[in-house]
Structure formats: structure tokens, C-alpha cells
């Protein structure tokens, strides 16, 4: 079912215009639409489609800057997100946790994506002075809580890998039967690897949706974007151990990287909620 005309108009206004201007335009359109509002068919005829109404009001340069910022933030989630998937950019996946470094020696690529994505979200959606104080949207709290639980689960796996690094987990890892490593992956560990690999799809969708909500609803939705990026990197960090051809070298990776990802992610999420 189509949303009411004013709702669609509000979404387009908040997407295409800076917040202050969008509020101003919407105030004017509430006047124009009338109270009670004219029927939607009449509004479509007299005013045009919501997107067409807002488009001439947007200043091209400002709108393009916003689109560029959106592409950068989405790219920081999507490029690493698709890298381990079939047909994904293998060089990105290869460099994601490779400490040989991509641009700076010793700095793996995941840090670039996290730093750029989180910093851009924090700067672009920074609080404005004139902004009224409102309570945190309930959906943001619920999603963040669920993501924190998942983060703890991935952390636990990462921790167990570090505790029992020996190639053969089977004897010691009674607590985690899926992590049985005997030469080629066992069926169960293979399932876990697939789960970690494909976890990026819902996290990418959630992250992009959060960016859209941060623009059109409440800027604190950026916290969900930051947390999705963090969770995805944590899942990939563990996945990189599963897919490494050099098992003895791979096991040393999770703990330091997990700590880095978690610290950056949690600080970023906390700052995003301010």
C-alpha cells in the first residue's frame, strides 16, 4: 500500500535537502496541502509526484556532496562485504587481514574501511546546535542490543581459536564441536565458515538502511551502521582463519585483530549515540 502523499514528500525532502531546509519546506507544504489535507489524487495532479516536487528545490552541488558522502560510507561496508563472496573482489579479501599492508606496511585493509566509514558517519551526521533533544528510537536500541549479542558470539569463537590454536582442535575443543579441524574442513566447521561468510549480506542491508534512516529520520541511526560494519569485520576476521591456507600462521590473527575491531567499533558506536 502506498504511503500518504505527505509522508512520501517528507522522505524525499529529508533525503535531498539539508535538514533545516527540509523542515522549512515541509512546513510550507503542510500549508499548501491544507488541513485537512486534500486527497492524494488531487495533490498528485496539482503538485506532481513527491520526488518531482522536491527535486527543483535541491541545490545540485549540496545534493551531490551528500550523494558522494553516502557512496563513501556505503562503499566502506559493501566493498569488504562482498569480497569473500563468490565472484567478489579477491584482492580486497586477500588484503583485508593481511598485515603486509595495502598502503602502509603493517596496516591491514580492514582498518582503512573501518576508519573511513566510522569517521565519515561521525562527521557527517554530527549533532547540530539547534537540534531538539529527543529520546533514542526504540528500533535503534533493539537492533544494537541484538548486534552486541552477535558480536559477543563471534568474539567467543575468536577467543576459543586463540586458546586452542593447535591445528587439531578435536581433542581440546569439546566445547566447540564445530571447530574440528582435521586437514580439510569438517562438515560442521564448513557450515560455520559459510555462515560467517554470508553474514555480510544481512549486515550490508542493515548498514545501508541505517544510513538512509540516519539521513531521513534520526542521525543516531548511524550507530547501527557503525555496529554492522564492526560485526561484519569481526565475522570476517574469524572467517579469515577458516579460509587461510597457512593454518599455523593464521591462528595468531584473531585476538589482536578482534581487540582492535571491537575497541574501534564500540568507541564509534558510543560516539554515534551522542
Amino acid at each position: 500500500m502506498k504511503k500518504p502523499y505527505l509522508t512520501r514528500l517528507e522522505r524525499w525532502a529529508k533525503w535531498m535537502l539539508p535538514r533545516q531546509e527540509a523542515d522549512d519546506v515541509l512546513g510550507d507544504y503542510r500549508d499548501i496541502v491544507g488541513d485537512p489535507p486534500r486527497p492524494d489524487e488531487e495533490l498528485l495532479r496539482d503538485l506532481g509526484k513527491p520526488r518531482q516536487v522536491i527535486r527543483p528545490l535541491a541545490q545540485k552541488k549540496q545534493y551531490r556532496v551528500w550523494l558522494a558522502v553516502f557512496v563513501v560510507m556505503a562503499g566502506c561496508l559493501l566493498i569488504p562485504g562482498v569480497s569473500p563472496l563468490p565472484g567478489g573482489p579477491y584482492p580486497v579479501w586477500f588484503s583485508l587481514f593481511n598485515s603486509d599492508g595495502f598502503l602502509i606496511p603493517g596496516v591491514p585493509m580492514y582498518l582503512y574501511f573501518m576508519a573511513v566509514g566510522i569517521a565519515t558517519a561521525l562527521i557527517w551526521f554530527r549533532p547540530r546546535e539547534e537540534e531538539p533533544k529527543t529520546s533514542l528510537p526504540r528500533a535503534v536500541s533493539v537492533i544494537l542490543a541484538a548486534e552486541l549479542v552477535l558480536l559477543a558470539a563471534v568474539w567467543w569463537i575468536s577467543w576459543q581459536i586463540t586458546l586452542y590454536p593447535d591445528g587439531v582442535f578435536a581433542d581440546q575443543a569439546f566445547w566447540l564441536p564445530v571447530l574440528v579441524y582435521v586437514g580439510p574442513f569438517t562438515y560442521a566447521s564448513h557450515i560455520l565458515a559459510i555462515l560467517l561468510e554470508w553474514s555480510s549480506i544481512p549486515l550490508m542491508v542493515l548498514g545501508i538502511a541505517a544510513l538512509i534512516k540516519a539521513r531521513t529520520r534520526d542521525r543516531r541511526w548511524r550507530a547501527v551502521y557503525v555496529m554492522s560494519l564492526t560485526l561484519m569485520m569481526m565475522a570476517f576476521c574469524v572467517l579469515s582463519v577458516f579460509t587461510s591456507m597457512d593454518w599455523t600462521a593464521a591462528w595468531v590473527l584473531p585476538l589482536p585483530s578482534s581487540v582492535e575491531i571491537t575497541v574501534i567499533g564500540l568507541i564509534g558506536t558510543g560516539a554515534s549515540l551522542c
Binding site: D28, D31, I32, D46, G48
Partner: protein, 100 residues
Amino acid sequence: MLKKDLIELCLLHLLSQGDQYGYELLRRLHDTFPDTQESAVYALLRGLCRDGCSEQYTGGASGGPARKYYHLTDKGLAQYAALLKQWQALCSALAALGLQ
């Protein structure tokens, strides 16, 4: 002179007669140009504000919510004079062709 310029001229003309309530301004122009959508007129009105040709302020309405009024600036007056001159030149050119 494009239709857009003509509508802009009409907006400036109405504003030159005194401060106007935004919605009323749109209704009047929509009545004059019924095939032009109100949103297009509104975009022109906001464009005038952005260019500094008009300013908006909120004024009280008796018993109702606050209304937004538009006021012509000096820059707007100059723009009005320029567009009026163009319009008059166009009218003269058309009259010279025998088109009244």
C-alpha cells in the same frame, strides 16, 4: 522570455505591492497559470529567497497558526525592474509584428 521568467515576474510584481502570505501567493498564481503546478511556483518563490530577492518572516494570523510572509528586498526590486523591462521589450517587438 520563458514562462518561468514570466511567473517570476508575476511573483515579483505581487510582492512589489506589499508583503504577501506565501500560500495565497501560490494560489493566485496557480489561478493565473492553471497548467503550471503549484510546486513549480513554490520552487520559483524559494529560488527568489535563495537569491536574496525576497525574504521570509513569520507573522501571526488572527486565531490561526503562524503564517509565513514574503517581503521584497532591494535586490528583488532591481530584478523586478530588469524582468519588467524585458517583458515590455517583448511586448513592443510583438506589437511591431502586429501581434496585439
